[in-house]
């Protein structure tokens, strides 16, 4: 049995890319570079997003509606959408002057749909932000602290999940516990009835991130809870939150439509849901006034669809394994 080889040691060669003349190490420079890299990675995300046909279609449709909503006050003749001042023929099918016909007050349906996009999208986005904020906080708190906090918060989450949302929504909308103006109330109602699903998702992701070694290492360094949550947990839970936010918009818009349809929507405002409600109340379905109820319905479907398509594309970005399928 012969001897083993001698120990060998070579100098490690550093294989980092050289980035020009190395400046002295400063936090500002590191910060600047970090931002430059974030912009570059955003550019990569955008490039991947562009490749997804679904995502681009969704984005275009959504963009179209957002532009519509923003420019509505300038392109819509406001007199044509108020019952008192509308002067079109009553319940008239589409003509040249009224491409989508008129409703029971003689209002221009096209103008109504265009103008209604403002409220519908506003409610959709705002309620989503609210739901995400509540859901994410609950989810992260439950997942991070665990123990009794988790038990209590999860119980609350599950309660909200299990409760039929339409019942809760009706009650809250009617009672208006915080005496908010109608619009505010509707946003609150939708936020309150939609946050639970997000909370569960975020809690699951938090549980997984919490176990990662870099979190433990940070704790070993002596960091407190606030530092851990904001610097380590939150940035790694954000992808899940983003993906979920996008889908929440669809849910929020559909919820608004449903609530307005039931008559609980903001009074005296034009939104797609209220158009649908009025058309239904005036028997548009049985009488066949298709130009009245179809356009707002299609608009709702299109926005929800566009948002879902964007969600699929985002999913592919965040989960690269899906890309090659």
């Amino acid at each position: 049995m012969s001897k083993m080889p001698e120990p060998i040691m070579t100098e490690p060669e550093l294989t980092a890319p050289v980035m020009g003349e190395p400046d002295p190490v400063t936090p500002e420079r590191a910060n600047r570079l970090a931002w430059a890299r974030r912009r570059r990675s955003l550019a990569t995300y955008w490039k991947t997003f562009r490749k997804s046909r679904q995502g681009m279609v969704g984005l275009c449709i959504l963009g179209f509606f957002v532009v519509l909503a923003l420019t509505a006050p300038y392109i819509v003749d406001l007199t044509q959408i108020a019952p008192a001042t509308a002067d079109g023929p009553i319940l008239h099918p589409p003509t040249a002057g009224y491409p989508l016909g008129t409703d029971n007050f003689g209002r221009n349906v096209l103008s109504m749909v265009v103008y209604g996009s403002r409220i519908s999208l506003l409610i959709g986005f705002t309620a989503t932000v609210g739901a995400m904020a509540i859901g994410s906080s609950m989810g992260i708190a439950a997942g991070y602290f665990g123990g009794r906090t988790d038990t209590i918060l999860s119980a609350i989450t599950n309660w909200f999940l299990v409760l039929p949302w339409i019942v809760l929504a009706i009650v809250l909308a009617t009672v208006n516990p915080f005496h908010l103006p109608d619009l505010g109330n509707i946003i609150l109602v939708i936020a309150i009835t939609s946050w639970a699903g997000t909370a569960r998702l975020v809690r699951a992701q938090t549980l997984s991130v919490k176990e990662r070694t870099y979190v433990e290492r940070s704790r070993a360094l002596g960091s407190g809870n606030w530092h851990l949550v904001t610097r380590h947990v939150l940035p790694n839970v954000m992808p899940v939150i983003y993906a979920n936010t996008v889908l929440m918009v669809a849910i929020a818009i559909l919820s608004e439509a449903a609530l307005s349809f039931l008559g609980l929507g903001p009074a005296n405002t034009v939104s797609w849901g209220t158009i649908l409600q009025e058309s239904y109340d005036n028997g548009a379905l049985t009488a066949g006034y298709w130009w009245w109820f179809l356009p707002p319905g299609i608009a709702i479907v299109l926005v929800a669809l566009s948002v879902t398509l964007c969600g699929y594309a985002l999913d592919e970005i965040l989960n690269p394994r899906l890309r090659d399928r």
Binding site: M1, P5, P7, I8, M9, T10, E11, P12, T15, R323
Partner: protein, 331 residues
Amino acid sequence: MSGTVLSLRDLRVTYRTQGGGVPAVRGVDLDIGTGEVVGLAGESGCGKSTIAAAILRLLPAGTTTEGEILLNGEDVLKMTASKLRAVRWAGASIIFQGAMHSLNPVRRIGDQIAEAILVHNQANEREARVRVGALLEQVGLPPRRIDDYPHELSGGQKQRVMIAMALACNPSLVIADEPTTALDVMVQAQVLKLLKELQHDLGLSMIFITHDLSVLVEVSNRLAIMYAGKIIEDGPADLVFHHAAHPYTKALAAAFPEIGDLRFRRKPSGLGGDPPDPQNVPSGCAFHPRCPERVDGVCEGIEPELWVAGENSHAACVHVSGAPAFEGMPA
């Protein structure tokens, strides 16, 4: 029956990824005779696990495999789907790394072992059960555990079940891909001992794939060392480990020092740099950026082949005796 069980001829495997083709294996020749154990060693990115999957055509869709894989004389790459299915497990079987994940947690282990036998129509259910009992005994598990679920077994026991599964259809070749890496040292020793005994009793041919060179010296007759998709040294196990010809093998062997060897006391042995990324293999001899015996001007331009380095051993290095003389080499 003597002869060659497995013969790889100029095997090249290229994965398809978003960034282009990744050449994981770049031309490998290997022979395994009946009853022989060949150890295949290397670090991450060298291609050894790719070879294991390639033999039974288990690589992901889109991967290009070129060359020949002759299993008992027949080229696996040219087999029809039905012939391939017959060969998988009955011709050659695999023991995977991480047995915990390879067993279906909701089925009894007896059923899982029997599955291979039944799929290959080698027996009916009753006979299969008898055979499974015999297999369990062979791997050192009491036959009454045939109806246990995987979670009732320990890590070492699960690995024994994997070995039993691999033997179920009497294959001519067993491919062991890192079979002991996830196990404790004591359990590892038990499993290695078992594999040696089985190999000896059943006359199995084996490819033993691992990064742990010291384990290979225990079990293999011959060693083949891989680096960046190619075999850079091969020969009798003892010779390659203790009298390595290739500088990489020397460094790899030195990373597993013998306890009691005072030369290694407080003298860790290692190489600078990292195993190369398969997408970015250095020119010429792939090892030259990290090689302590590099000859500047020669090594980055030459593509070394397995030249004779000793008795029955070869190494792909310009320094070995069988290498041709290149310009620029010191006298």
